[in-house]
């Protein structure tokens, strides 16, 4: 999802818009929209239920299959209640390198997320507020970077990592993801909405530029910082393509790379659906947690800001 190597079919700026929309309360209905008969309402609810089933069912299958025996999973793929219930798949998974992949993913994700939030904010602030020669040129360059489709950079990035001698190291996994143009863009947009008067007061008091940024402006940009945190987390946690070209040492496999290797004979003969479902489930849980927690945190933060006026 990073603009350096999107693993996903959706561009980062689209994701940012979507993410922002998700946090907005929906507008109340108008007379025109509330009109309509009972039959129409029923049809809408019916369509909604059908779509909800289509969207939620795969996750239910994932959960239930992870608790099945292999025979049960293959024999009764439609059955949603495991019979018998077993945690064998999770036990088998613990015997693989899964714990190592998980640790690697956590290390990479934390580094990338902290780095992106900090460096993108710094650059975004400079581009929004500081006056320096070449600012326009820098911003234009960042916009140009946004237009480069990430997938075409796979081979190029390998070439540089190899040339620098850091192929097959943690820095190779982390450094190229450490900043992203879309994030800089998001932060710049947000900083421009903060009134300049606040900074002026601090500047008169003699505060330095970094101090003003760090203790005054950045705290005010909490909604944007949270959006960026969520996007960076998702981006690095779900990243696959970059990790494929940055290392081939199994000790440096992250979750995506490691779990993907489970399908290609990593588990020995035969399909081991409960194990792959369990792996998928475990790698989805942190995403779901961040998704829910930060969204709640954000909503509270937004309300608190509104009360202060």
């Amino acid at each position: 999802m990073s603009d350096l190597a999107p693993t996903d079919s959706v561009a980062p700026e689209a994701r940012a818009r979507a993410e922002a929309e998700l946090m907005r309360p929906m507008r109340a209905g108008t007379a025109a929209e509330r009109s309509g008969g009972r039959g129409r309402k029923l049809a809408v609810y019916l369509a909604l239920v059908v779509f909800a089933v289509i969207y939620i069912y795969p996750f239910v299958v994932q959960l239930s299959t992870s608790l099945k025996t292999n025979g049960d999973a293959v024999g009764r793929p439609l059955g949603l209640v495991p019979n018998p219930v077993t945690t064998e798949a999770f036990r088998r998974l613990a015997e693989t390198d899964f714990p190592l992949w998980f640790t690697n993913s956590v290390v990479v994700t934390v580094c990338v997320t902290v780095g992106r939030v900090f460096f993108n904010s710094l650059a975004g602030y400079a581009l929004a507020r500081l006056r320096f020669r070449g600012r326009e040129a820098v911003f234009t360059a960042i916009l140009a970077v946004l237009a480069v489709p990430g997938i075409v950079l796979l081979i190029p990035k390998f070439l540089v990592l190899n040339y620098l001698g850091i192929y097959n190291t943690y820095p190779a996994l982390i450094l190229p993801l450490l900043v992203d143009a879309a994030g800089v863009f998001i932060m710049k947009q947000f900083f421009e909405t903060i009134p300049a008067s606040v900074e002026e007061a601090a500047r008169i008091d003699g505060a330095g530029t970094f101090r003003i940024f760090w203790s005054i402006v950045l705290p005010m940009a909490r909604p944007a910082v949270i959006t960026l945190t969520i996007l960076s987390f998702q981006g690095s946690w779900n990243e696959l393509a970059h990790f494929i070209i940055a290392a081939d040492d199994p000790r440096l496999y992250t979750l995506t790379r490691g779990v993907a290797s489970l399908t290609s004979g990593g588990l020995g003969s035969g399909n081991q659906f409960p194990i792959t479902m369990a792996a998928g489930l475990l790698m989805t849980i942190p995403t779901a947690l961040v998704f829910v927690l930060f969204q709640r945190y954000f909503t509270q933060g937004a309300n608190a800001g509104a009360e202060k006026g």
Binding site: T7, D8, S9, A14, R17, A18, E21, L22, R24, M26, R27, T30, A31, A32, R34, V44, A47, L48, F51, Y55, I56, F59, A73, V74, P77, F119, A123, Y125, R129, L130, R131, F132, R133, G134, V138, V145, V148, P149, I151, V152, L153, L154, I155, P156, V160, V179, A181, R203, F210, N238, L240, A241, L255, T256, V259, T263, T276, G280, M283, T284
Partner: protein
Amino acid sequence: MTTTQTSVGSGTGRAPRGGVPGAGRRRGAPQRQSGAGWLFVTPVLVVLGLFLVVPIVMALWVSFTDWSGRGSPFSTGVGFVGTDNYRALLAGPGLSQQDFMISLRNTFYYVIGVVPLQTVGALLLAVIVNQRFLKGRTFFRTAFYFPSVVSSVAISLVFLFLFTGTGAVNRFLGIFGIDGPTWFSDPRGLIHLVGQGLGLWSIDQPPAGLNDTVVAGLPVWQWISGPSVALSAIMLQVVWTTTGTFMLMFIAALQDLPTEVEEAALVDGANRWQRFRNVTVPHLRPTILLVVTLGVIGTWQVFDQMYVMTQGGPAKTTLTPAYLSYQAAFGQQQWGQGAAIAFILFVLIFVLTSLQRFVLRDKDEAARKRAERRQRRQQRAAGSGAAA
């Protein structure tokens, strides 16, 4: 950093641009800001330069060589082959051209399948979720978006399981007496299948006319295959994954639709479909353009699903340029060719999105701008007196 020195002393250097009140008016602030400004953007510039600009230049060089992955691509042992890599891919003849054309064919069908489906699907979901009488809209909005934030690897594993020969999808189809295909291992093209269903041809014995005519290294029969059953399953999966994100963009636009306009249409006696067709859709035009553009950019880059689920198979029907480029470089050590594929893909995406922006541009907007320009010209010609 050195450029900042010139503007410090005079003070007049800023004066012509100093229309903005507030920022940087006090003495001392400009040069401090100048230093801080460059300092603040340096990390971003260094990383983007090192892992984006430099790589592109290196890869451009490699795409003109026969580098095999050993040693430095700049060493003297590496042969400069000019445009050979590009020619092998585009003009052939040979396996490289054939594979590349197959990957273009696959992705073409993939794009024209996925983009309309995900756009219309997202709009449909947005309109449904936006029905204001609904209870629990926030829940549904989140449920539809959730697949977009889950790892493509985890989702691929679930779909591999759902779409196995005896999996949940085929069992479900079996309830209605439909004998489902083996999805991810089925290389038969959809258009081939439809043609066979209509009695036009037999897949096992393709019509000689179509099979013998070769265009760009591939028989016409291959070109018109349509997406294979395996590719179609991936398309369904991707539509399922991405629709939620685009739905949110449509909801955002729908929420901004001025209610007065819609109520005016209601008063005028427009029915629901007329209101949607003549009020909502024109309002959504910029969003539709954005969704389609992002869709085209995203779909041409498809890679993860091929890496996890099919590795380009069955019978190369899920091979895409992105995966082929990875395979050529990392698999067969043909780095020049891999890099060349990446650059062709880059140009292709750029041309397609530019073309699309031009075709789908807001014609009213363009006409208005033209009219404004004409008016300004006329005003200039008539002199300042005419304005009053």
